[in-house]
């Protein structure tokens, strides 16, 4: 792909203060990069720290959160940027697609205003020009001028979703993060959404981070896949490789639990982040675990573009 990565995350760790004085280690030692025009999917079950990575990149984590490592976006150190600088970056250079489009729009403001406001706020253009552009973006997504005057509660979920995509495309961000965009959608809307997501990277300059637990969507859209378990990346590589020939026992279990692959769930439950098992976090549920897996955290091993965090493979 491209040589200069758009987003480079190096050894990122995030922890929150826990209820009883302990720390919830939501993300541990995560490294990856996203290039322009590339789609990187982060998959894993709920609570594995996928969304926390997105929030760390957007710098939306609540106060009291401990973040270490480095996040470099377009040559700028995001973790060291001031809130003022972040306000300039958010929206214009990185944008986010939310999982619930109806709730991501202000119910008391007309859609036209919600589309134009960010452009005017960032000083990209004047209001009249912004209105023209907004209408263009809506038309491109199959909506009309009446939508500009409508309130979000008058629109269906699918319309709201298109409006949100219009908002993201209008600001022409270089990095788009989609946080569980297919959650709770029916098949029709997932197809719609897939098309819109594919459209984001089509210009070759925008990178997409797709946070999801929809393996099918990942297979269709992603160039590369990161599989996360308990805040750590356990396997990373080209989507076609990882999804057809999974190496890590967790990835194998994840794919094996899909209906089309026999519906065999991984035994046990994923542990609480406040009380992680010693060594490899997956060892209590892993068939091939031995003394070494219980004792120490396996390092990330690279082999031909594929990274796996496992002693046994």
């Amino acid at each position: 792909m491209k040589d200069e990565p758009l987003l480079e995350i190096e050894r990122l760790s995030v922890s929150f203060p826990g209820a009883d004085g302990g720390r919830i280690r939501a993300v541990r030692d995560v490294s990856f990069a996203v290039s322009a025009g590339e789609t990187v999917a982060i998959v894993g079950e709920s609570g594995c720290g996928k969304s926390v990575i997105a929030q760390a990149v957007m710098r939306l984590l609540p106060p009291g959160t401990e973040v270490s490592g480095s996040v470099v976006f377009g040559g700028q150190d995001i973790l060291a940027a001031s809130e003022k600088e972040m306000e300039k970056i958010r929206g214009t250079r990185m944008a986010m697609v939310f999982q619930n489009p109806e709730r991501a729009l202000n119910p008391v403001l007309r859609i036209g205003r919600q589309l134009t406001e960010p452009m005017v706020l960032h000083g990209l253009c004047r209001r009249e020009e912004a209105e023209e552009k907004a209408l263009e973006a809506l038309t491109a997504l199959g909506l009309d001028a009446a939508t500009m005057r409508a309130y979000p509660w008058m629109c269906s979920g699918g319309m709201c979703q298109r409006v949100l995509f219009a908002a993201v495309s209008l600001l022409q961000a270089e990095l788009v993060i989609a946080d569980e965009p297919t959650k709770g959608l029916d098949a029709d809307r997932i197809r719609d959404l897939e098309e819109m997501l594919a459209g984001i990277t089509a210009d070759g300059r925008t990178g997409l981070v797709l946070i999801t637990h929809d393996i099918g969507l990942t297979a269709r859209l992603a160039d590369r896949v990161l599989v996360m378990y308990c805040g750590m990346i356990v396997e990373a590589g080209w989507a076609t490789d990882v999804l057809t020939a999974p190496a890590h026992p967790y990835t194998r279990g994840l794919l094996g639990s899909l209906p089309e692959n026999g519906f065999r769930p991984i035994p046990g439950i994923s542990p609480a982040l406040l009380d992680l098992p010693s060594g490899c976090a997956f060892h209590p549920r892993c068939g091939g675990a031995d003394e070494e897996c219980r004792r120490s955290v396996p390092p990330m091993r690279e082999n031909g573009g594929r990274q796996v965090r496992c002693f046994r493979c």
Partner: protein
């Protein structure tokens, strides 16, 4: 749906006309004198008072101060209440505790007795009255605004606004204020109505500036200068009816607005 708004709007329009162009409506100025204590006739619709002034003209001219005191106190209360409610609801923690503590203190102050004490020392003119009534009625506004802000502050669309690069100030002004606005409007109207009643009560008790011309002062004059003993109901009744109609028109607008909102919500 629209006809429900007709009566209150018509009344407010009439009062507003009286307040803005009294000289066009009233046949005489408040300083012109005729013979005192006249009964109503064709020349003097409501007769004349103890100083021989035309009562109908006085009622028209008094609309200006009565409405001004009501609306201006309402505006003072809304501005203070909304600012404090926004700050307390947006920034939780110590600032919230401090602001809400202050609000609770203002809430438990017995208003009319306090105003009476203040008035006894200051004999307030219209501006002081506006300030005092406004400063004593923002607390309910602050509480309503705060709870609304707390309700929406963690909403997805606020997070979405942050992701679009909205600063804190623009989130409050552009995203939260429009949400808060529909609860503030009826509050403004209610505070305005209660300020009008407070002004009338204080003036009747003789605790405001007796030289100012308001409906409350007119009733007080009628009481103190023989209007009640002589059974000149046409002296004190018109200003009293004006106060009642004014308050009713203003509050019914607020209730209609609220009902309209509820109907929209139920759609």
């Amino acid at each position: 749906m629209k006809h429900r708004y007709f009566l209150p709007f018509a009344l407010i329009a009439i009062f507003a006309a009286m307040a803005t162009f009294p000289d066009l409506i009233a046949p005489f100025t408040p300083t012109e004198r005729f013979s005192a204590y006249q009964a109503p006739d064709a020349a003097h619709l409501f007769g004349t008072d103890d100083m021989g002034r035309d009562i109908f003209s006085l009622v028209v001219y008094a609309a200006r101060l009565s409405l001004l005191i009501g609306f201006a106190s309402g505006a003072v209360a809304i501005v203070i209440g909304a600012a404090i409610g926004l700050a307390a609801g947006w920034r939780t923690g110590i600032l919230d505790d401090l602001l809400m503590g202050t609000t609770d203190i203002v809430l438990i102050l017995p208003k009319i007795p306090l105003v009476i004490i203040l008035a006894a020392y200051l004999t307030p003119g219209p501006w002081l009255l506006i300030l005092v009534l406004g400063l004593l009625s923002w607390e309910s506004v602050a509480r309503v605004v705060r709870s609304k802000v707390m309700q929406v502050r963690s909403a997805d669309f606020i997070l979405a606004a942050r992701c679009l690069g909205f600063s804190e100030a623009s989130i409050i002004l552009r995203e939260i204020l429009p949400v808060v606005f529909p609860v503030v409007v009826p509050k403004f109207v209610l505070v305005t109505a209660s300020a009008m009643i407070s002004e009338a009560s204080l003036s009747f008790l003789g605790l405001s500036d007796p030289t100012m011309l308001s409906w409350g002062v007119m009733i007080s004059d009628a009481f103190n200068h023989g209007g009640f003993i002589r059974e000149m109901w046409y002296w004190w009744m018109p200003p009293a009816i004006c106060i009642i109609l004014g308050v009713l028109a203003i509050t019914s607008l607020a209730f209609l607005h609220e009902r309209g909102n509820r109907e929209v919500m139920q759609l």
